[in-house]
Amino acid sequence: MNIKMDRTETGLLLALPLLILIAFVLPKWVVNYVQVSLGTGLVALGVMIQMRAGLVSFGQGLYFCVGGYAAGMLAKFLGISDLFLLLAAGILAALIVAGIAGFLLRRYREIFFAMLTLAISMILFGLLSSTEELGSTDGFNLPSATYLGWAPEGETGRLTLYTFTALVVVVCAILLNRFLKSPVGYINEAIRENEVRVEYLGTSAHHAVHITYVLAAVVSSIGGVLWALALGHVDPEMTNWTTSGQFVFISILSGTGNIAAPLIGTFLLEILRVYAVEISPNTWQMILGSVMLLTILYLPKGLWSLLTTRKSTKPSDDSADKISVGD
């Protein structure tokens, strides 16, 4: 793999120590929000990389939940609490589910893709809600994470998990940034624009969509494991449509222009929600809805577009319209 880093990757690496430092500086409640945001931010990243291919997943909560429950079940039934094994379980479960579901979903686009992803996530919601062994709608608790036999407790345990979460999220974000610039990532942009042409160029759009879907699922499941460990609890709400809707909300709010955008967007949404609830406890959703509406109206490419300058793409003048035929 090419180790040369671009600005986004350098920025993410520079942000890592700062991210870790705030755990020691900022109030505990803010750090908790950051930690939760990092977990859900990975799911938003999963939504974002699919959006780059023109696919909107209204069921990304499925893999958030698959990751959380896979880790939770490993802990609950086998007594395993090692972070690395829990992450591996979440990734494996997501690979299996997305690998199979991808064969169906890669054939669909636009609203059909959105509705099918939603339908599959709601099937899991129904299954988990009616499974007493997994706590039904209440879910179940997870133990504190251990690290290759080391079991930190109290404040040390909290800080260790936070540090690992920050590290994993930054590594995932860097890898996804590389994916977006890779041939498959590049083909995704082409699929969004014109799938017929992609096939005529000699590659399978279905294949690229399948790969992207599985990758998004894996990242979301990692988010699910980290989120579940941070809260020490999983429940079927993780795969409910309202949760999936939040991830789409974040992607629209933040935009798909940069891999860092959904991570920042997730944190902004958490903060927005906190203040919305404080300002208007019974109608806080209206505030969120209004923000969404204003974003779509005035920043259709999301908050990240405020940081980027649009390249000048002047329409051709008469002289440019002429095709040169001589030397």
Binding site: M1, N2, L175, R178, F179, K181, S182, P183, V184, G185, Y186, I187, E189, A190, E193, N194, V196, R197, V198, E199, Y200, L201, G202, T203, S204, H207, A208, I211, L215, K311, T313, K314, P315, S316, A320, D321, K322, I323, S324, V325, G326
Partner: protein
């Protein structure tokens, strides 16, 4: 010359309607072939079948002696058969150079690569070289949606050539190009393709262009081949004149004026 493509009794129906029937064509390596016919004659259906977009209801397609009937589009492209479109199929919100880079990225990708950058300086240079060949390099940074139709057509064709095809289908390359630019446009195109010795089949409604650039011509009518042979013979064919080009078309006069206009260019 070796036969590159051969179709045998190719047929395609849509319900009770025959879009193509008993289409038998042989295309040799490096040859330039013009296809004429009124709208609905089966020209694009033929191209769609050979390039895998439509599955024939009967008949065979052989490429370099191997049967490729029903092969998916992407595999046909990989075999060396590419096409451009009557309505350019591009990535409209991206600049010309990005369109070319995507095409090159796909052409050079043999297996999915997930974490290695797609774009490098060498690829950019290849993209610019292709744009220079088609004399549209000065449009490199412009978004497709801001370009004139003629330039879009050339980008569409340039993208179809990134994989160095042995056989290239051009579906009405001059449609949407203004009358006074058509000859110059085709000259740029044919000159660029001559460099790579690509066999070219182009669909065209302008008989002057057919006369000027295509030594061989195939006339389609109601899904069947009405005539196939040297262009001057096909254009003089009684049935072709009656059903395809119209009896008022006069070859010699048009040919003379065409030659003059090309010289002016």
């Amino acid at each position: 010359m070796a036969v590159l493509l051969e179709t045998r009794n190719l047929e395609r129906t849509f319900g009770a309607v025959y879009a193509a029937k008993d289409v038998n064509i042989k295309i040799e390596a490096g040859e330039v072939l013009g296809v004429i016919g009124s709208n609905g004659a089966g020209k694009t259906t033929f191209v769609n079948m050979v390039t895998g977009y439509l599955k024939p209801t009967a008949g065979e397609i052989l490429y370099k002696g191997e049967e490729i009937t029903g092969t998916p589009t992407r595999d046909i492209t990989r075999l060396g058969i590419c096409r451009s479109f009557q309505i350019p199929q591009l990535f409209p919100e991206l600049p010309v150079i990005e369109n070319m880079l995507i095409a090159l990225t796909v052409a050079q990708q043999t297996r999915p690569v997930l974490f290695r950058p797609a774009i490098n300086e060498s690829l950019k240079e290849q993209a610019m070289e292709l744009l220079r060949r088609f004399k549209i390099d000065h449009h490199a940074e412009q978004e497709i949606q801001t370009l004139a139709q003629g330039v879009r057509k050339l980008v569409d064709i340039a993208m179809a050539t990134v994989a160095n095809p042995d056989l290239l289908f051009l579906d009405e390359p001059t449609s949407g190009v203004s009358a006074d630019e058509k000859m110059g446009f085709m000259k740029v195109l044919i000159d660029a393709l001559k460099e790579t010795r690509t066999a070219v089949l182009f669909i065209e409604h302008d008989m002057e262009i057919i006369e000027r650039f295509s030594p061989r011509c195939v006339a389609f009518y109601e899904g069947t081949i009405l005539a196939d042979g040297p262009t001057e013979e096909v254009l003089e064919n009684k049935e072709v004149r009656e059903f395809v080009i119209g009896s008022e078309f006069h070859r010699s006069g048009n040919a003379a004026s065409t030659a003059a206009s090309v010289q002016e260019v």
